[in-house]
Symmetry: C2
Subunit: 375 residues, 2 copies
C-alpha cells in the first residue's frame, strides 16, 4: 500500500530555485513540506544513506521555509512563542527552539536564528508558523512585520562537507562552530552560512537569499567536489532515525508537548522569560502520561498487520492500546529495526521491552544509546 | 520535468480513514494538502474528467481539513478573519469566505460553516488557518477554543450525485439547497451533509466525524451506486479550470488580495462589521495593479519555454514581465487550452489578447464566458 504512487505537482506544491538541478541529478521521489517540494530519494534510501555517511551531499532543503520577524518587538514575539530562553543567543547563532501554544503543545520545532535584536528567522519544520506569529502580533498589537523572506536553504552534509564548503566559501567556513553562522561571500553576495543540518554526519546550511545564484551555487559545489564524490542527496530516513532526529508531523504533533517528546533539555522552564507556554509546561512537567521512545528489534519487521488508518502502527499490550509507532526503518549499519514510538508511561514504568508482531523489542531513550545499537 | 516522480509517504503526510479504499480503487497519484494525502488521478485526468461529467464519483477530500472555533467569542473571531459579512448566515449554512490579514492579503479561501453562534467550522484550502485563528484568539484574549476536529469530508460529485446520496441518506438530501446542509443519519450517527463541492457538476460533501464509519460509508455509496456507474474520483484539474474554480496556493497566495483575484463579489466592504482586513481592502479597491484572468488559446500549448523557477510560466510583453500563468490545462470538451493568469492591469486596460509561445490567446473574466469557451 502507498508504494509507487506518483506525486502531482502544481504551483501550489512549490518548486525551488534548485529543482531543475535536482531533476537533472535524477531525483526519484519527493514529499511536500511547507507547501514545497522536498526530494526524498535519489539512487535508493540505502545507497543514499551509505554515500551520505562516507562522502558529501548537496541537499535542496528550500522547504525549510524561513519566517522573518522584524521590528522593535521582534525579540519579544519570538520569545513568546518558545519556552527556550533566547536571551543569550548571539547574532548569527541558531537555537533549536520548540514553538508551543499556551497549553504547551508543539506547533513546530524550528531553528531560531537571530540576525540582530530586531531581525530573526524561524527556520521551519512543516507547519505554517508564519500564521501563528502573524496572529499573535496582530492580537497583541506588536510592532513587527512577519513574512516569508525569499531564502532558500541548501544543505551540504557528510564527513567531507567542511572541505567542500571551505573550497567554495573560503577557509572561514572551517571556523564556524555548531549552530553558529557567518556571512560568507559567493557570487558577490554575502550569504548566511551555518554549521547545522538534519543529519549527524556534520555539515552546513547555506541560507541563500538570491535565487539567481541558486544554480551557480549548486554548480560550484559540484565543480569543487568532484574528487570528494559529491552527489545530490536529501534528508535520509535511515540516517535521521539512527541519529535520533525527530520529524514534526511524524514523531510528534500539536497533541504533544516537548516533554512528551524527550525535548525537556531544550526548554528553560525555570527561566524568568515571557513565554506563552511556560506556565502550562511547568505544570505538565509534574506528571507525564506519554513519552516518545526508541524501539530496537533485531529482525527485519513487517508492521503492516498493526497499521492504523492514520499512517502509524498501533502498539497493544494485553488488549490495551498503549501507543503508536510513528517512524521506523531498517538500519543496514546496525542490522536492527529502529522505531520511534509514543508510549504510555504506565507501561514504560513497568517494562523495558515490548512485543510487536510476534517479536520482542527493547525500549530506549532517544537518541539511541550507542551500545544498544551495536549490541 | 517533474513527470513520473514518486511520492514518499510518512505519518507526516497523513493518510485518511478512506485511504485503504482509495488504494483499492486504484489511485495512481496524490498530492499533499493540509499535510494530508489528496488523490489526484485514478484512470487518467481525461478519463476521470469525462466520467465525473457523466456519472457520479466518490472523492476522499479529508484533506479539506476543518478548523473548529467554539465558545462565546467564536462568531466574533470568525468574522474578524474574513471581509465577508457573516451576520446573516444561518445554522448549517456554508459561505465561501476568503480569510485575509490586516493588509487584505489572502491567507486561505475556505468555506465557513456555522453550526450555531458558538460553534463554527472553517473548511480549509491548503494553509494552517488553525494557527492564524489560535494566534488571534490568544492575542486578543478571546474566549474560544480553536482546534482541528476529527472530521473527514467525503465528496459525492457528478450529475447523479443527488440520486446516490438520497439512496444512502434518504430523500431529505434532495431538498438541501446549494451551500446549505442538514444533519442526516448514517450508521446511527447524525452527520452534516451539505450541497457543495469543488466541481461544477453538482453534488454533496459529507462531513463525517466518525472515522469508524468511513469505510462503511464508502462501501454503502458503492453498493447503492453500481447502476449509476459510481467510481472513485478526485478534484479534477480540467473540470475545475473549465468551471473557474480557483486553487489557493496555485492561482493566488498571500501576496494577493481577493480583489486581485476577482473575488470582490464575495466581500462586503461596505458592511458595518468588525473584520481585520476591511479597511485595507476598501483602500485597495480604489486602484488595482494586478488581476487574475482567464486565457484561452485555440491550440494545444507547450509553455515549457516560459517555465520559471517557481512552478509558473512567465508572461512577457515587449520585454516587460507582465504576469504569470498560474494554472493551465487542455480542455477536451472545448478543444481549447485554458489558463488562469495573474496579469498587470496596465496591460489589460489596453489589450484583450495576449501572445505566448508564438500563439495568440484571448483574455476573459473568470469563470470563462460560455460563448468564449464554445467559440
Amino acid at each position: 500500500m502507498l508504494q509507487n504512487k506518483l506525486i502531482s505537482v502544481t504551483k501550489r506544491t512549490r518548486m525551488t530555485p534548485y529543482t531543475r538541478r535536482v531533476e537533472a541529478a535524477g531525483v526519484k521521489a519527493y514529499t511536500v513540506y511547507n507547501h514545497m517540494l522536498l526530494p526524498t530519494v535519489f539512487e535508493s534510501p540505502q545507497a543514499d544513506y551509505w554515500h551520505l555517511c562516507e562522502h558529501v551531499q548537496v541537499w535542496d532543503v528550500a522547504a525549510e521555509v524561513q519566517v522573518e520577524v522584524r521590528g522593535p518587538d521582534a525579540a519579544r514575539l519570538v520569545q513568546l512563542m518558545t519556552p527556550r530562553d533566547l536571551r543569550k543567543i548571539e547574532p548569527l547563532q541558531g537555537k533549536y527552539a520548540p514553538m508551543c501554544d499556551a497549553q504547551g503543545f508543539i506547533l513546530n520545532d524550528p531553528i531560531v536564528i537571530k540576525h540582530n535584536d530586531q531581525r530573526w528567522w524561524i527556520s521551519l519544520a512543516d507547519s505554517d508558523i508564519k500564521l501563528w506569529a502573524k496572529g499573535l502580533a496582530q492580537g497583541y498589537g506588536f510592532d513587527v512585520e512577519v513574512f516569508e523572506p525569499t531564502v532558500y536553504p541548501l544543505a551540504v552534509q557528510g564527513p567531507k562537507a567542511e572541505e567542500l564548503v571551505s573550497r567554495v566559501f573560503g577557509d572561514e567556513a572551517r571556523d564556524i562552530r555548531f549552530f553558529r553562522g557567518e556571512m560568507l561571500e559567493f557570487g558577490g553576495e554575502s550569504i548566511y552560512v551555518a554549521r547545522s543540518g538534519w543529519s549527524k554526519q556534520g555539515g552546513f546550511e547555506i541560507y541563500l537569499h538570491a535565487p539567481e545564484l541558486a544554480e551557480p551555487l549548486w554548480d560550484a559545489l559540484f565543480e569543487h567536489g568532484e574528487d570528494l564524490h559529491v552527489r545530490a542527496g536529501c534528508p535520509n530516513g535511515i540516517e535521521r532515525i539512527e541519529a535520533g532526529l525527530l520529524s514534526y508531523g511524524s514523531d510528534m504533533d500539536a497533541s504533544h508537548t516537548p516533554l512528551d517528546c524527550g525535548l525537556g533539555s531544550y526548554l528553560n522552564l525555570q527561566a524568568d522569560i515571557e513565554s506563552l507556554s511556560i506556565a502550562a509546561l511547568r505544570e505538565k512537567a509534574k506528571s507525564q502520561s506519554i513519552a516518545l521512545k526508541g524501539l530496537i528489534f533485531k529482525q527485519v519487521m513487517d508492521f503492516s498487520s498493526a497499521a492504523n488508518s492514520v499512517g502509524g502502527f498501533d502498539v497493544w499490550h494485553d488488549d490495551v492500546l498503549i501507543g503508536e509507532i510513528k517512524s521506523q526503518v531498517w538500519s543496514p549499519r546496525y542490522n536492527k529495526h529502529l522505531c520511534f514510538a509514543m508510549l504510555d508511561t504506565k507501561y514504560l514504568n513497568e517494562n523495558s521491552t515490548l512485543e510487536m508482531c510476534g517479536q520482542q523489542g527493547t525500549i530506549h531513550d532517544i537518541p539511541f544509546p550507542e551500545d544498544a545499537l551495536s549490541a
